[in-house]
């Protein structure tokens, strides 16, 4: 009995000691510890992802040859169609470059694309965060847009050596500007994620919608990136504007809910768009530059 009491007492003392130690540690040491933990955890996350891929592989292996032949045939057709599309896009790109040069129009932000598998998606933050299997060693930087096809999935918030954390469109940490389909392209709206429960519907809000905006008749209005902010390329789809746009209580703007791309709920693979040159915001986030605003002048 006494031994138990003494053991419990020792545990409390240890807890208090280590908590106190953690609190008084220099921030650099704490940051190092956190980073070290993330890197220590990374192989386990990789393993989980690889295991899931392996399970998928064996699941496909168990299919009948007929099914695989049919799938291969479909894939061949899709490949052929994509080949054609690549050719036509190549022509369009050349024409675009020629016209830009002729008009001396500034080149759009250039991106390098890095494809990444989703490593982990925790149930507690299902609509807020995913972890992908690409990190600093692959050139991923904080703030990079993350897309799937032409749909915005989110943007990178934290980068580790081999993994990165991505804030989804439905995360409170996400915000960007957008155009509404069918609206005057000189008017921008604000898109921001909203905190929601894991099992609830994904939530994001479109605000500052002009009062005179009406969605195209009989259609669901797409919400698209503006490309003005220097982070997202223009014309990517953030989602669709749900019906039932509401006027704010002051009656001078409208707000609406954003339905994100349906891929967001089961996304397995994404593309990270890494800008060729770092954005100003990215430079600000770099710890070495933080607190030295004079250098930015």
């Amino acid at each position: 009995m006494d031994n138990n009491r003494q053991g419990a007492k020792a545990s409390y003392v240890a807890l208090v000691f280590f908590t106190g130690l953690w609190l008084i540690l220099p921030s650099a040491v704490r940051r190092f510890n956190r980073e070290a933990f993330a890197e220590f955890q990374a192989p386990a996350l990789h393993l989980v992802g690889k295991g899931r891929d392996l399970a998928r592989y064996w699941e496909l292996q168990s299919r009948s040859p007929e099914e695989l032949v049919a799938a291969a045939r479909d894939l061949a057709r899709i490949n052929a169609a994509l080949e054609l599309k690549i050719h036509s896009l190549d022509d369009a790109r050349k024409e675009n470059t020629r016209l830009r040069e002729m008009l001396r129009y500034p080149q759009s932000t250039e991106f390098v694309t890095v494809v990444a598998r989703v490593s982990v998606r925790e149930t507690s933050s299902w609509w807020q965060r995913i972890i992908i299997r690409k990190g600093r060693s692959d050139g991923v930087r904080p703030g990079c847009p993350v897309v799937f096809g032409d749909r915005v999935i989110g943007r990178v918030s934290v980068v580790h050596l081999t993994t990165s954390e991505v804030d989804l469109v439905t995360s409170p940490g996400f915000r960007c500007t957008a155009f509404l389909e069918g609206d005057d392209q000189s008017r921008i709206v604000h898109v921001s994620g909203r905190a929601g429960l894991a099992l609830s519907a994904p939530r994001a809000m479109v605000s500052i919608i002009p009062l005179d905006y009406n969605p195209p008749a009989g259609q669901i209005a797409k919400v698209m990136t503006t490309g003005l902010g220097g982070v997202f390329p223009s014309g990517l789809t953030l989602g669709t504007l749900e019906a039932g746009v509401q006027t704010t209580s002051e009656k001078h703007m409208q707000t609406g809910a954003l339905t994100p791309a349906k891929e967001l709920s089961f996304i397995q693979e994404v593309s990270v768009l890494i800008p060729k040159y770092p954005t100003a915001g990215e430079i600000l986030l770099t710890p070495a530059d933080a607190g030295k605003p004079e250098e930015f002048r």
């Binding site: 940490g173 960007c176 000189s186 982070v231 002051e250 600000l284 930015f296």
Partner: protein, 693 residues
């Protein structure tokens, strides 16, 4: 030491007298009762007051300004709107640790530099706050200004913000001090209008959007710097109708609509208001009560250092009501564009005014005054440089309603009417009109050195013969001339309106002229202390001398003549149910032939007379030109007038144009003011044709 009984005499007796014990007991009981009663009193009787005091110390109300109502023209075209204003603001409460850190750093430096001197702690605190805020502001501008390319290489590809003076990119110490003393609880605005920073700098909407987008997408979401969107006054047409629309300025007095329960609840609470807007000129001022709406409020808990902590309740503001003006944007635009073409030898626009009325209803279709100002420059915070520039140009004066001028030859319509009504002349009487006319031993000249010979009423109006008017004026007499001018309301204040429950302004536009002058004998005696002479009568008969009136009065005069009445009640507010009755109006008092001659004379003025240079083929209209003299900076100059109505056979619109001429007297009614009238009539005709189709 012990006494004989073996007891120590200095030791206290173990027997305490009962009365002492009772006294102690009594005092304890009394103290206990006092405390108990006091506590009960506090808890049971004063509890409500104490709770209120506690709440008053720990909570505050923040008043939220409402959006103002919109202003439309008669066709529903938006003249004044509200646009989204994106402001970058700093949460001073969240910045406290940074302020503290900077303060300690400054304090250490100060002590190291001057170890024997007592530091100025307040100044150090203020400097620390400024340093921290400026550091954040520099980061914000860095994000807004820079493109990706620039951030990496230092070579900008796209310039999205105007070149602001370095001081305009810093926090102003006085602004911070004022904010901390008056609105400490609210977020501190670092950049008031992110899309259009600082008035007076040209930024296109796309450039503005780019600045906003950069901040939203590149600046950290979490942190002490936030982005807020509210509405600010916007005048989409710039200077168009600026004297009618007016502008707004900051106010701390916000109208609220709290119910009694809330008023009681909030009575003791500290209240802070965001800066709101109130009308400072034009319709914005006179219909301020209607446009203002009602402010909302937020109930916050506050920290011991005075910052807001938690939001408890919220009531949104209520936007003001809209106002529909009688203006027609297209006619207004044509009037202003035509006025802008009238320039002096240096290419500077001449001061001028133009008015067009609906003849039947009196509704004002166009009311322009030049030079003008851009109300957008005043929508947020006007710069002293812009204020001084408009002031130097004389742009604040609404010449159409506030400018007082001698009406010149346009007054001859009154002289002719007075003469006919007094029976001194008839429509077909012919007078001999030479190159001058002797009055009181002085030759009063004709503007044509040869004279006009045999002149009747129609010819007089067509050629604007002075000598005819001298003769008729002298026959009619100054009292009859004055009486007739007053009958047409030339000295009556216009744009008056009854005070309504939601609008306590007494006029439709601010400060319309009230010091118009229709002179008579008594007037001259009062002003100059001299008796009236025939020369004064001759001068008055041609619209010179002491006569002073406004272009709006002259537009009303001609609208009245077009209808065959004496008064027109002008209005700038559109009312589709207006019945066409005019306050104080009576029949003109001329027989049909006299009235027809008057109208025919004005038609001939356009077809073959002084306004023939601005006739419109296929659209006959009636007009009377005028060129009066005035002294500008001690030298003689001309005022150019034209008044009239269109079409001639079925009047629908009446107009008046006035131009303040140059010193070289090259300004003439038909030549200078006529083109403006012509353009307004054409704009009206185009609009009317479209409506018919």
């Amino acid at each position: 030491m012990k006494d004989v009984d073996g007891q120590n005499p200095s030791a206290p007796s173990d027997r305490i007298s009962p009365w002492r014990l009772n006294a102690i007991f009594f005092f304890f009981c009394a103290g206990f009762v006092y405390v108990a009663v006091g506590l009960s009193y506090r808890q049971l009787v004063q509890n409500v007051e104490l709770i209120k005091d506690s709440v008053a110390q720990s909570q505050r109300v923040v008043i939220l300004p409402p959006s103002r109502g919109k202003i439309f023209d008669r066709n529903g075209y938006v003249l004044v709107d509200n646009r989204v204003r994106w402001s970058v603001k700093a949460d001073l409460l969240a910045l406290q640790p940074e302020f503290r850190k900077e303060y300690l750093s400054l304090l250490k430096k100060e002590k190291d530099r001057f170890p024997d001197r007592r530091p100025d702690y307040d100044q150090l605190q203020q400097t620390a706050r400024l340093n921290v805020l400026n550091a954040w502001l520099t980061k914000i501008w860095f994000v807004i200004d820079s493109t990706n390319q620039k951030a990496a290489k230092g070579t900008p590809k796209v310039k999205s913000t105007p070149d602001l003076h370095p001081e305009e990119r810093m926090v102003h110490p006085d602004a911070l001090r004022k904010h901390l003393s008056e609105r400490r609880a609210l977020l501190f605005p670092l950049i008031l209008d992110l899309a259009f920073p600082n008035s007076g700098h040209t930024v296109t909407p796309e450039e503005g959007n780019r600045s906003v987008a950069r901040f939203i997408e590149q600046f950290p979401v979490q942190g002490p710097i936030t982005l807020e969107a509210d509405m600010v006054r916007s005048y989409p047409n710039g200077k168009l109708a600026s004297h009618v629309l007016g502008y707004v300025r900051d106010t701390d007095i916000l109208k609220s609509k709290l119910d009694d329960a809330v008023v009681d609840e909030f009575f003791k609470l500290q209240k802070i208001g965001h800066v709101g807007k109130k009308g400072a000129d034009g319709i914005e001022a006179t219909y301020n009560e209607v446009l203002s709406g009602y402010s909302g409020w937020e109930l916050w808990t506050k920290t011991s250092s005075g910052y807001n902590k938690d939001l408890l309740r919220f009531e949104p503001p209520k936007q003001g009501a809209d106002v529909a003006l009688s203006l027609d944007t297209k006619i207004q635009k044509s009037a202003e564009e035509a006025l802008a073409k009238i320039v002096d030898s240096q290419g500077k626009p001449l001061p001028a005014a133009a008015v067009m009325l609906d003849v039947n209803t009196g509704e004002i279709l166009a009311l322009a005054s030049q030079p003008s100002f851009d109300p957008n420059e005043m929508a947020d915070r006007v710069t002293q440089a812009y204020f001084d520039q408009v002031n130097a140009e004389g742009g604040w004066l609404n010449r159409a309603t506030q400018g007082l001028y001698a009406p010149g030859s346009t007054f001859k319509l009154i002289t002719a009417t007075a003469g006919m009504r007094a029976g001194k002349i008839d429509w077909d009487d012919i007078l001999d009109c030479g190159p001058s006319y002797m009055v009181g031993g002085r030759a009063f000249p004709e503007h044509d050195p040869v004279g006009y010979g045999q002149v009747d009423l129609e010819k007089m109006l067509a050629v604007s013969c002075n000598v005819w008017n001298y003769q008729v004026g002298l026959r009619t007499g100054p009292e009859n001339l004055a009486k007739e001018a007053r009958r047409f309301g030339l000295d009556a204040p216009l744009l008056q309106k009854p005070v309504e429950h939601d609008n306590n302004s007494k006029t439709e536009l601010p400060n319309p002229a009230t010091r118009m002058v229709v002179p008579d004998r008594a007037y001259k005696q009062r002003i100059a202390g001299e008796p009236w002479t025939d020369g004064d009568t001759a001068n008055t008969s041609i619209g010179q001398g002491y006569l002073l009136t406004t272009p709006l009065h002259m537009a009303c005069l001609i609208a009245s003549i077009a209808r065959g009445e004496t008064r027109t009640t002008p209005s700038i507010i559109h009312d589709p149910g207006r019945d066409g009755r005019h306050l104080g109006a009576e029949a003109i008092g001329l027989n049909t032939q006299q009235l027809n001659a008057l109208r025919e004379g004005m038609l001939r003025c356009v077809e073959e007379g002084t306004a023939k240079s601005v006739r419109i083929p296929g659209l006959p209209y009636a007009a009377k030109t005028g060129t009066s003299e005035y002294f500008k900076k001690g030298e003689k100059a001309h005022l150019a007038w034209i008044i009239g109505y269109a079409p001639a056979d079925n009047p629908v619109v009446a107009f008046c144009v006035l131009v303040e001429g140059q010193l070289d007297t090259s300004t003439w009614g038909g030549k200078t003011a006529g083109p403006v009238a012509r353009d307004m009539i054409l704009a009206w005709q185009t609009a009317a044709d479209k409506k018919d189709k």
